[in-house]
């Protein structure tokens, strides 16, 4: 082993941090916070599972974060990594070995102390094909992953339990995103005995180390979390109880919020109510706006004529009137010109993208041999507002001569069409769009723009595969040294600029988060637009009407 890189926690927003975790975490507790109280949060869709290895939905993502903890986490309301269950970590200079020191005395909800064995078990379980985890692919850089994925063996050779409080990960390549991977839900630590006890039903009986524990789950109706009194992070959580009510239409949720029956409408402010809310100063005051690691885009199948011609793709980019589409969704987004959202490291502020220019687009089409345009199909998911946005795009395309018919289908059908090389010429990504799993520029590349995703059943719906860029991406990801983070971001910016030159996508907008809360909710605004805890950071918010 070479010299370990060590570092103290940096305040820098963008830098990778290494660290000896410290009392700083405890310090982070809001001094104004009041202890106790209960809140009610609503969701329309059912919560499928609370198993961190499986849950990958909008609703359960942050619920799982409150029930479980990973080795790493982010500072509340930010994208700044910090150690969580790990007390500190070390990264070998080659960027291929990560060693985590675990916090002592962290207990699962069942009372047992969490150890390094649990960490290994957790990652082994997620990567085991039998678990059918949608997140298994994140762990592809750990040694032995391929054998596990192929079912040849049960456990990753790259994870070593050094002692009960030390766990070592060996990677096959330097991976700058690895600490982020250690912060996503899939790597949140689960106790083996409980998983084995409940088997496939563990998702209905989650046991973790998190700030809350599951108190009640009435299927299809209600999930109740109660405070974990033994939570290792002293002073958290503030709330005693969170009730999630399921199956509530967003519009109903908002009406109930206005009547003071609930505290957070989990699905946000429904478009129909948006203006009413914003027009009322009292209500507007309770709305928190923030960025989101989201981009809505149109994919063009680069293997399919006429989109195999870059000029056509560029023409489409110029044809779409993004301002109009933003207007359609009540200005709750900002027009996008590149794949990365503005709050993502690596976002190229200097990049101007393609202007909305109908004449130029027509000229490009003519150059490409389609002076009269052509006919094509635009797929979109069939939930509001996606059919509407698709229709707006359709009209813009029509203006330059492209006649796109809309296929508005169930999510699963659109995904299937995208994963089929001859399936869908164009897809509007809304509803299935890319919200980053973790705040790192690489997250927007691999599966959706890299060669790895351009396979049958993959998510690279534009079937854009540029070997050069793949190599450059690998190069960028091997820059593990946090000191070179800025350099790495530039590398990524260059990659995305090149992608935009090839224009497999037409980025349309980046959604803004508008979270609304009841008057009694307290805590910093950024807790309500936490980039990773959606809709809110349950662990850190509090209510004002308790003693």
């Amino acid at each position: 082993m070479k010299k370990f890189l060590t570092s103290t926690v940096a305040a820098s927003a963008l830098a990778l941090m290494l660290g000896m975790a410290s009392a700083r975490a405890e310090d982070a507790v809001d001094p104004n916070a009041k202890q106790g109280g209960a809140i009610t949060v609503t969701y329309k869709d059912d919560v499928a599972t609370l198993d961190p290895a499986i849950g990958y939905d909008w609703q359960n993502w942050s619920m799982i974060k409150s029930l479980f903890d990973g080795l790493m986490d982010y500072e509340p309301g930010t994208t700044n990594l910090k150690p969580d269950l790990a007390e500190s970590y070390e990264i070998a200079p080659d960027g291929k070995t990560f060693t985590f020191k675990l916090r002592h005395g962290v207990k699962f909800h069942n009372g047992r102390e969490m150890t390094a064995d649990d960490v290994k078990y957790t990652i082994d379980r997620v990567t085991n094909p039998k678990t059918q985890s949608p997140g298994a692919g994140f762990f592809g850089s750990i040694k032995g992953y391929d054998d596990v994925a192929a079912g040849k063996t049960e456990g990753l050779s790259g994870i070593t339990v050094v002692d009960p409080y030390t766990v070592k990960f060996e990677l096959t390549r330097p991976d700058a995103t690895f600490l982020h991977v250690m912060a996503i839900n899939f790597s949140h630590v689960v106790p083996k005995e409980e998983v084995e006890k409940y088997g496939a039903d563990f998702g209905k009986h989650p046991v973790g180390t998190g700030a809350f524990k599951l108190a009640e789950w009435t299927l299809g109706q209600r999930i109740v979390f109660e405070r974990n009194p033994d939570y290792w992070h002293k002073g958290l959580p503030h709330l005693d109880k969170i009730t999630f009510e399921i199956g509530q239409e967003p519009i109903v949720a908002l009406l109930r919020l206005q009547k003071g029956e609930i505290d957070i409408p989990g699905d946000g402010i429904p478009p129909a109510k948006f203006q009413e809310v914003m027009a009322d100063p009292e209500q507007k005051a309770r709305v928190v706006v923030g960025g989101q690691l989201h981009t809505g885009y149109v994919t063009m199948n680069t293997t399919m004529a006429p989109f195999d011609n870059v000029k056509v793709r560029q023409a489409v980019n110029m044809a779409i009137n993004k301002d109009r589409i933003v207007q359609l969704i009540n200005n709750r987004a900002v027009p996008a010109n590149q794949p990365l959202p503005p709050s993502m490291p690596g976002y190229d502020k200097a990049f101007k993208g393609y202007p909305h220019d109908v004449a130029k687009a027509k000229a490009l089409l003519a150059e490409a041999g389609h002076p009269d345009g052509f006919e094509t199909q635009l797929f979109a998911m069939n939930t509001d507002p996606n059919p509407r946005i698709a229709q707006a795009i359709q009209q813009d395309l029509a203006a330059v001569g492209i006649k796109a018919s809309i296929q508005s289908l169930a999510q699963a059908n659109v995904i299937a069409a995208g994963g089929d090389k001859a399936g869908a010429p164009m897809i509007w990504s809304g509803g299935m769009a890319w919200i980053a799993d973790f705040p790192d520029p690489s997250n927007f590349y691999g599966p959706i723009l890299g060669c790895a995703g351009a396979v049958p059943g993959g998510w690279n719906w534009s079937w854009y595969c540029n070997k050069d860029l793949d190599a450059k991406a690998a190069e960028a990801d091997s820059v593990v040294d946090p000191a070179k983070a800025g350099e790495r971001d530039k590398m990524w910016s260059a990659i995305y600029d090149k992608i935009m030159a090839d224009a497999p996508w037409a980025p349309v907008f980046n959604e803004q988060r508008f979270t609304m809360k009841s008057a009694r909710m307290g805590g910093a605004d950024n807790l309500y637009v936490d980039p990773v805890h959606i809709p809110i950071n349950y662990d850190n918010v509090y209510v004002n009407d308790v003693q």
Partner: protein, 306 residues
């Protein structure tokens, strides 16, 4: 009676078998891949294939269906692809809400429909009759989602008499039941009216009048039991309509029943749930028809079950 029941149960099982086969075939033909839903976007093709193999989705249709059928026979509806829970558990947890809604709706439609039909039949040819019949047609012609949204707007949002959706108290039940019931009430009103008019023309009603019975006795003792029979037969058929309506009404009112479960499952090709809900619905329909047939002899002693 016993042989009759035995035969009917056999027939019902055959029908359920047919329903399962057709649904399974439709889902097999679905141009969406459930495995991709499960595997997530970071999955490698190998992971996808692994999962496909584990779920047996790489097998030919016949084999898949056979496996499904075999586990079905042992009472196992399988596990949800997305939710990973037992489908039986998911359905059982949501069934009470749907049943409650169905009971509420049946009460609504019987109460409204039969009353309207009875009054219209007695007052046939009058303005009351015509008004009631137009009203019944409006009920039959109104799309449930429009009715639901309208009731929600007027009684929950504007007047605030009822909660704006949700589940729990009887107050939550009123609007969804009414929404579901209005359609049926229209049919029942029409049916009751024509059935009642028909019965009132029968010789035995004339006999009853010739005996000097009072109007009420004739109407309720002699006419009603005869007129109600086609209505009872209708309740069996009705359950099928309910099962469809439940998808819409539960979604409008956020009612945690199997309709919402089905709708979400269809969106995400969660085949075991779709199969489960379809089978449960078909079972309910078959059971409803069977019950209607079993009840019939108690209303009309001429009917013999054999």
């Amino acid at each position: 009676m016993i042989p009759y029941l035995g035969r009917r149960v056999m027939q019902s099982l055959l029908i359920l078998l047919g329903v399962s086969l057709i649904t399974f075939a439709l889902l097999y033909l679905l141009p969406a891949d459930p495995v991709r839903q499960i595997a997530g976007r970071s999955a490698t093709p190998q992971t996808v294939e692994n999962i496909r193999r584990q779920l047996g989705l790489d097998q030919p249709f016949v084999v898949q269906y056979w496996h499904y059928l075999m586990s079905l026979l042992s009472g196992d509806l399988g596990r949800s692809y997305i939710q990973r829970s037992e489908v039986t558990e998911l359905i059982v947890s949501r069934l009470p809400a749907s049943l409650l809604l169905m009971v509420g709706a049946i009460l609504c439609e019987l109460l409204i429909g039969l009353t309207m039909g009875l009054i219209a039949a007695v007052k046939r040819g009058t303005t009351t009759d015509q008004t009631l019949m137009v009203a019944s047609f409006v009920g039959v012609s109104a799309p449930q989602f429009v009715v639901g949204l309208l009731l929600l707007y007027v009684f929950a949002v504007r007047l605030g008499w009822f909660p704006i959706g949700g589940y729990g108290t009887w107050r939550h039940l009123v609007l969804p039941s009414l929404t579901m019931g209005i359609l049926g009430a229209g049919w029942y009103a029409r049916m009751m009216r024509s059935s009642m008019i028909d019965v009132l023309r029968q010789d035995y009603v004339r006999t009853a009048r010739a005996k000097g019975l009072a109007r009420g006795a004739i109407l309720f003792r002699h006419a009603l039991p005869n007129a109600i029979l086609p209505v009872v037969a209708m309740i069996g058929i009705d359950i099928g309509i309910f099962m469809g309506g439940i998808v819409v009404v539960e979604s409008v009112f956020g009612w945690p029943g199997i309709g919402q479960l089905a709708w979400q499952a269809i969106q995400r090709v969660d085949i075991p749930i779709i199969m489960g809900v379809t089978l449960v619905s078909a079972f309910a329909i078959v059971l409803g028809n069977l019950l209607a047939d079993i009840v019939a002899p108690f209303i009309d002693p001429r009917i013999k079950l054999r």
